[in-house]
């Protein structure tokens, strides 16, 4: 497979050398399909629609871009779909970290990101470690000490054991020696309700979801799961600053394409995304969503993903999750 790509690239380069005058830029001629793996209203769907809106507003694309929901298997369906669209330059998709973790854990998720073409990383989603406002714990240290003193008694609400909030728990438990229960809820609403209702003690939450609840004084952020403090949460220490030097499992979102994307097609999309990134519509989306902008080109994205996958493997194994690949 790799050899074929190498050969194709070599041939393409050879052809380019032989016919420099014919080096035309690729432009889309049909509506572009933007594949997202969540349903309407889900995180990826919202991001996809915001991206399309920003592109439309800044008039960056000559053709329509349509969000296409391919729900299923935590991203596996969307990944398979993109894999099948090899050779079609009018299909791209949004990836998140589940595209990395799923193939590691699910036998059926047989399309890994290495087979697809990374185009650009776009954002990193930070997170906050929060407790109820009336919780007795005023700092991360107090919380972790309590967890260590009462092994298994404290509870964290979160998503699936592969999700970032579970990974944060794993690295914190490993670092502090504490132990607390992780209770999975399928939707954010249920997780927050469990926290607000006092049924669990803590949760890891996206700042955008938490913003209003913090502002109205219902919950309190003890730390941020980021490398640097977010401007919106100047007073909340990062995990490292709070005294817990653990890797921050990232929640990246970016754009990728079907396998073996032709170089000129790839170049078009890289350029499109770079310009969309600077557009006012997108910048507003980033601020409203409290997302960390991180634009990387295809090569850097591939390296970032490889590094993240290795990290994830380690964390997942520590969590006791069985890896199948």
């Amino acid at each position: 497979m790799n050899r074929r790509i190498l050969l194709t690239t070599a041939l393409a380069m050879g052809a380019a050398l032989l016919a420099p005058a014919a080096q035309a830029e690729w432009k889309p001629t049909r509506p572009i399909e933007l594949v997202v793996h969540s349903g309407p209203g889900g995180g990826n769907d919202v991001m996809g629609r915001a991206l399309v809106a920003a592109i439309d507003e800044a008039k960056l694309s000559p053709v329509r871009i349509q969000v296409s929901n391919k729900v299923g298997g935590g991203g596996a369906t969307a990944a398979s779909y993109l894999n099948e669209k090899k050779g079609d330059p009018h299909v791209i998709g949004i990836f998140t970290s589940v595209w990395l973790t799923n193939p590691l854990v699910q036998q059926e998720a047989n399309v890994s990101m290495r087979e697809l073409t990374p185009i650009s990383l776009m954002v990193l989603e930070p997170a906050l470690f929060v407790v109820r406002a009336d919780s007795p714990y005023k700092s991360m240290t107090e919380l972790m000490d309590a967890a260590k003193a009462n092994p298994g008694k404290m509870k964290q609400s979160g998503g699936s054991p592969l999700a970032r909030d579970a990974l944060v728990r794993t690295v914190l438990q490993a670092k502090t020696g504490g132990r607390w229960a992780f209770i999975s809820f399928p939707s954010g609403g249920e997780r927050i309700s469990a926290l607000l209702g006092g049924h669990v003690d803590m949760m890891v939450i996206e700042p955008q979801e938490a913003g209003e609840l913090i502002r109205s004084g219902k919950i309190r952020a003890l730390a941020q799961v980021t490398d640097a403090r977010l401007p919106e949460f100047k007073d909340t220490p990062t995990l490292k600053e709070a005294g817990f030097d653990v890797p921050n499992p990232p929640q990246p979102r970016g754009i990728l394409g079907p396998p073996g994307m032709a170089p000129d097609v790839l170049a078009y999309y890289v350029d499109l995304i770079a310009r969309a990134n600077k557009s006012p519509g997108w910048q507003k989306f980033l601020r409203d969503g409290i997302l960390e902008e991180k634009l990387l080109g295809p090569k850097e994205t591939a390296e970032f993903l490889a590094k993240t996958e290795t990290e994830l493997r380690g964390i997942l194994t520590d969590s006791g999750v069985k890896l199948v690949r």
Partner: protein, 484 residues
């Protein structure tokens, strides 16, 4: 203000259309229309989108009653008695009762939303996994009543439903269950695909097999037959209240959807009925309870969204992102900081509810004429619409093939006299119930008493046990009479 009225009407109309067509749900429609609303003011935008949300609950019952094809996931229960009413020539009455129940329960939900939103939200927060489990257990206990003639067959159908819903990825361990190595099954079977297959497709196959007359169902003639009679409306008195309260309460709970609300309301209606055995044969209260419940559910679902910024489910999640996109911050401070949006929305709900009643009631005679269409056109059309419904779930042909499979399953079940409703109920509740139990045990570290030590869950479990023993009461009475 007048433009907002127009947007309300647009939303209600679109919602009704979307509700009628299976598959194209309010969530997807709202998501598709979001970009169009960027240029609108937040108040107008949320008014229109909520109109869609509401309207869909009205429209969903139309095809459920006329064609045994659920238009929306919460309209599945309406098929059970609604379609049977249509078979008896009371299609118009059923449609009318559905609209009236929707209006009454919807109004209740809106009034409750405007008056007691914050305390109800606080109440909902006290609900957690043990209470959810008790609620689902209550729902399943009601299956015993839905079993009809053969309890054994009803229970078998229920268990098959439980199995079908566990297909997919286990939330707590990411273990794939019963996926047969198929990527397509990793996220499980979709409820609409199962429901449309087991209701609509099965009905077409049964009808073809029995070769009924050229027309599918007797067409109601005359004005009197096109609307519910006073007796029918009187019979629904309890159902209107039942649907309103049950739907509203379940709507407030995040994660418990309108389908659950309609099933439980239907079950409670049957539990308290004087003629429970007649359910499933075409009772008006069997339509009024679930239809009311799924409308009251909308009002309830808006409460956590508007008071805490917590979306309860699919459609409210999109409404949340819509509000965020407009810069309105849904949360505890929304009522005070954006009162124009909040109260504008509430006002539009009142008006929209009335608009929907006015839109839907006169359409009843028109809709009933669908039954005039000759079968050789109507049946393929039902197939076509079902395929569209199944395909639009995730855009995969796999779902359509599953649809065919469930059509065959439903047909086999109906020939072998296995009731289908328990299978659907098991499918709706099984997943949630398993999750709730495992969450509860994780919270209590394996201590089962968490389910009975909390007042609300204990109460519901006692109710569930009582429901299980209710059918036996007359038998005990007879035994006592025979002995004494």
């Amino acid at each position: 203000m007048p433009t907002n009225l127009l947007w309300c009407l647009v939303g209600c109309f679109l919602g009704t259309v979307v509700g009628i067509l299976p598959g194209l749900g309010p969530a997807a429609t709202i998501a598709m229309l979001l970009p169009m609303t960027y240029s609108m003011s937040p108040a107008s935008g949320i008014i229109m989108l909520t109109g869609i949300y509401y309207g869909a609950k009205y429209g969903g019952s139309t095809t459920s009653i006329l064609l045994n094809m659920p238009g929306e996931s919460s309209s599945v229960v309406t098929c059970i008695d609604g379609y049977q009413m249509a078979r008896k020539g009371r299609a118009g009455a059923a449609l009318g009762i559905a609209a009236i129940a929707s209006f009454i329960a919807g109004s209740f939900g809106i009034v409750a939303l405007s008056l007691i939103a914050p305390p109800i939200a606080a109440f909902a927060l006290s609900f957690s996994s043990p209470e959810y489990f008790a609620l689902m257990a209550l729902g399943l206990a009601l299956v015993v009543l839905l079993a009809g003639d053969s309890l054994v067959k009803g229970l078998i159908a229920l268990l098959v439903g439980l199995w079908l819903t566990s297909i997919g990825t286990d939330l707590f361990t990411s273990q794939s269950r019963f996926t047969f190595g198929q990527t397509s099954l990793l996220s499980g079977l979709d409820f609409m695909v199962v429901a449309i297959g087991v209701f609509a497709i099965t009905e077409v196959l049964s009808s073809i097999s029995d070769q009924e007359e050229t027309q599918v169902l007797p067409v109601p003639k005359g004005f009197r037959n096109l609307l519910p009679s006073w007796e029918e409306l009187k019979a629904c008195r309890f159902a209107f209240a039942n649907g309103s309260i049950v739907g509203f309460i379940i709507g407030v709970l995040p994660g418990a959807g309108a389908s659950i609300a309609s099933f439980i309301s239907y079950g409670i209606e049957r539990a308290f009925s004087r003629h429970p055995e007649k359910f499933g044969t075409g009772l008006p209260e069997g339509v009024a309870a679930p239809e009311g419940a799924n409308n009251a559910d909308t009002g309830g679902a808006l409460i956590p969204l508007l008071t805490l910024g917590i979306p309860g489910g699919g459609t409210t999640a999109i409404l949340l992102s819509a509000l965020v996109l407009w810069g309105v911050k849904p949360g505890p401070l929304m009522m005070t900081e954006s009162p124009d949006v909040f109260w504008g929305l509430v006002a539009s709900l009142y008006i929209g509810n009335v608009m929907l009643l006015i839109l839907n009631l006169p359409m009843v005679p028109l809709f009933a004429q669908i039954l005039r269409i000759p079968v050789y056109i109507l049946h393929p059309v039902i197939f076509g619409v079902s395929v569209i419904g199944a395909y639009s779930v995730s855009g995969r042909l796999f779902d359509v093939l599953m649809l065919a499979g469930f059509g065959a399953l439903g047909f086999a079940m109906s020939r072998l006299k296995f009731p289908v409703a328990p299978l659907v109920l098991g499918f709706v509740l099984g997943d949630a119930m398993e999750r709730a139990l495992r969450q509860s045990l994780m919270m209590s570290q394996g201590d089962l008493s968490i389910l009975i030590s909390r007042p609300i869950s204990a109460g519901m479990l006692i109710f569930a046990v009582a429901v299980l023993f209710l059918p036996l009461l007359p038998r005990f009475r007879r035994l006592k009479e025979a002995a004494g």
